[in-house]
């Protein structure tokens, strides 16, 4: 029981370090998740929508 507790509770500094590393991993992955969609080619519908928007059609 005691050894179990000792294993479960790491030294504070280590726990803090680990938390920071996990936060960094989460942050990096969050940006990656967003960037994955940003990098997708823009569907033609979107460009068509802008092209057809009223006023001057000279964007392309």
């Amino acid at each position: 029981m005691i050894s179990n507790m000792a294993r479960k509770t790491p030294k504070p500094a280590l726990a803090l370090d680990e938390a920071r590393l996990r936060q960094q991993a989460i942050g990096a992955q969050l940006r990656l998740m967003f960037e994955e969609v940003v990098k997708e080619p823009v569907p033609e519908d979107f460009l068509e929508l802008l092209r057809q928007a009223d006023s001057d059609p000279d964007i392309h």
């Binding site: 969050l30 940006r31 967003f34 960037e35 969609v37 979107f46 928007a53």
Partner: protein, 200 residues
């Protein structure tokens, strides 16, 4: 030299500039919509609606201000006005029920996008969007506050709560798998109950 034809060409020049400003924002709007609506098709519908709303409201855009933040705000308002929120939540609850989180034994081990999406889905909507705007969208706290229509301090606290909650959700996935934490918690409750009853 005020001349109506000049006005018209000035207007069309502004419109052209506006379109050229919108064009590079489309990928960003699609990415933000995906985090709100989840399903890629629904997200693209949302992004297209927002794009048209932005175009229709172009006269109210102040040239020189942050167009990205302005369009994100339009997209967000569009999302909530369509009340997709409850639909999204129902979908996430189902997804969460159907899958289990996978362990992150090593803090340096790559976290899969799937795990992250599941974890994000478990956060309250306000926390999720604050974290995404600041942590992925590249917005300053002040800009995120303008987009969400709340105070800067509120955004800061939502982001920090979201970070902590996400971390603990992802760690809980690990505990859920081997069940050790649950057993230990139960064991300590029993031990405490024993001590209490023995002390009397």
């Amino acid at each position: 030299m005020p001349d109506p034809s000049n006005d018209k060409s000035a207007q069309s020049q502004r419109d052209g500039e506006f379109k050229r400003g919108l064009l590079p924002l489309i990928p960003q709007l699609r990415a933000f919509a995906r985090t709100l609506a989840g399903d890629p098709t629904a997200a693209d519908d949302l992004a297209q609606d927002a794009l048209m709303k932005a175009w229709d409201a172009r006269a109210s855009f102040e040239i020189g201000t942050n167009m990205k933040a302005w369009t994100f705000m339009i997209l967000r308002n569009q999302f909530y006005s369509e009340k997709r929120r409850s639909w999204r939540q129902a979908q996430l609850d189902q997804e969460t029920a159907e899958r289990t989180l996978i362990a992150v034994d090593d803090p340096l081990a790559p976290l899969s996008l799937d795990e992250l999406r599941q974890g994000l889905g478990m956060l309250p909507a306000e926390q999720r969007e604050a974290l995404i705007l600041v942590g992925a969208g590249g917005f300053a706290y002040e800009e995120a506050a303008a987009i969400c229509g709340c105070a800067v301090g509120t955004v800061k606290s939502r982001v920090s709560r979201a970070r902590r909650a996400l971390q603990s959700i992802l760690e809980r996935g690990e505990y859920d798998r081997d069940g050790r934490a649950a057993d230990e918690a139960m064991g300590s409750i029993l031990a405490q109950a024993e001590r209490l009853s023995g002390a009397r």
